[in-house]
């Protein structure tokens, strides 16, 4: 009986070890954004085209593995969700997102104080291959979804 139990435990341990060694699944940023849209009441968000991202933010989307760029359609809202997955050097993307946040803060500071307060709580996050900027009153809830 003891031998059988020991054998079963060993098998279970092997299964556990096999599960641990399996590479973590990377969730596509489009799926992450869909989950955000489902769980959080975002205002109407405008998807930004490659040309816009290049012209204004200076980011060549061809250098990104995956990306989502959304800003609030209504200019009196600071809401922004940018999710970028990039395997290589993240410095340029991180710096570009820092500048977007800085510009948003400058625009809102003396104009829309409530939106400025929301933007002030934001910062660019880098986690693994993912570089993100989320400006939202529901920032914490959104990051719970991003971080899985």
């Amino acid at each position: 009986m003891k031998k059988t139990l020991a054998f079963l435990l060993a098998v279970l341990m092997l299964i556990s070890l096999a599960a641990c060694s399996k590479p973590a699944q990377t969730k596509p940023v489009a799926d992450i954004y869909s989950a955000i849209e489902t769980s959080v009441a975002l205002p109407e968000m405008l998807p930004l085209a490659d040309e816009y991202i290049r012209n204004y933010y200076g980011i060549d989307t061809a250098s990104l593995d995956e990306y989502i760029f959304r800003i609030a359609s209504d200019v009196v809202r600071a809401d922004t969700v940018i999710l970028v997955r990039i395997k290589g050097d993240k410095t340029a993307v991180r710096d570009a997102l820092e500048l977007i946040l800085k510009q948003k803060l400058a625009e809102m500071q003396n104009y829309l104080p409530d939106q400025y307060e929301i933007a002030k709580k934001s910062k660019v996050e880098v986690s693994g291959d993912l570089v993100t900027l989320v400006i939202s009153p529901d920032r914490d809830a959104i990051y719970k979804i991003i971080n899985g």
Binding site: L46, L48, R54, N55, S73, D74, V75, V76, E107
Partner: protein, 195 residues
């Protein structure tokens, strides 16, 4: 103008280019002709172009723009009333023409405010004075003038609340569709008059 940029961006994502094939919007929230002339620094309101804060006149020259549509007004009137804005505008246009002497300049009217939202300096009376001054300035200098304001107002001269997102000055896509129509109509007349 940021709202109009968002409207045009939305139309482009839907595959509708309309009269705007590839416009470049050199805008940022709260920018005015006065702030556009000021020194660039970390917190300044100069527009981003390719990820860098830039002077408007430099970007216009760099991209080789042929036509420049200028809409400043609300942020000017809110701070300076009605007289100063033309002076700042004139200086800015001077800087643009210095680098891009062949560019065509078009001034766009400032749209009105929703009834009940007017303030001490920023109000429809001052916006009307500003638009009138701007039209006279455009005529004197040989620049175009596009009157959008009187196409997005009610019979009492207010921005209809149904066109506003915040019951103040900011507008929705219903209003911006009219902006686009007015600009298209202006362009059609201009082309026709040029034979």
């Amino acid at each position: 103008m940021m709202g109009f940029r968002n409207y045009i961006t939305y139309q482009q994502t839907q595959g509708n280019t309309g009269c705007m094939s590839a416009p470049l919007f050199l805008v940022s929230g709260s920018i005015s002709a006065r702030t556009a002339l000021s020194q660039i620094h970390g917190e300044s309101l100069h527009p981003l172009y390719k990820g860098v804060k830039r002077y408007i006149e430099d970007v216009i020259a760099e991209v080789g723009a042929k036509r420049v549509f200028i809409l400043f007004g609300l942020n000017e009137v809110a701070v300076n009333g009605t007289e100063e804005p033309i002076r700042y505008l004139d200086t800015l246009i001077g800087r643009i023409l210095e680098q891009s002497p062949d560019v065509e300049i078009y001034l766009v009217s400032t749209t009105y405010m929703v009834q009940g939202s007017e303030k001490k300096l920023l109000n429809n009376k001052n916006i009307r004075i500003l638009n009138s001054n701007r039209r006279a300035y455009a005529d004197k200098m040989g620049y175009g003038y596009i009157d959008i304001a009187n196409n997005v107002c009610d019979k009492n001269g207010f921005l209809p609340s149904s066109y506003s997102t915040d019951q103040y000055v900011h507008q929705n896509y219903i209003s911006y569709a009219i902006w686009e129509e007015v600009m298209l109509s202006y362009a059609s007349h201009l082309i026709a008059s040029q034979g």
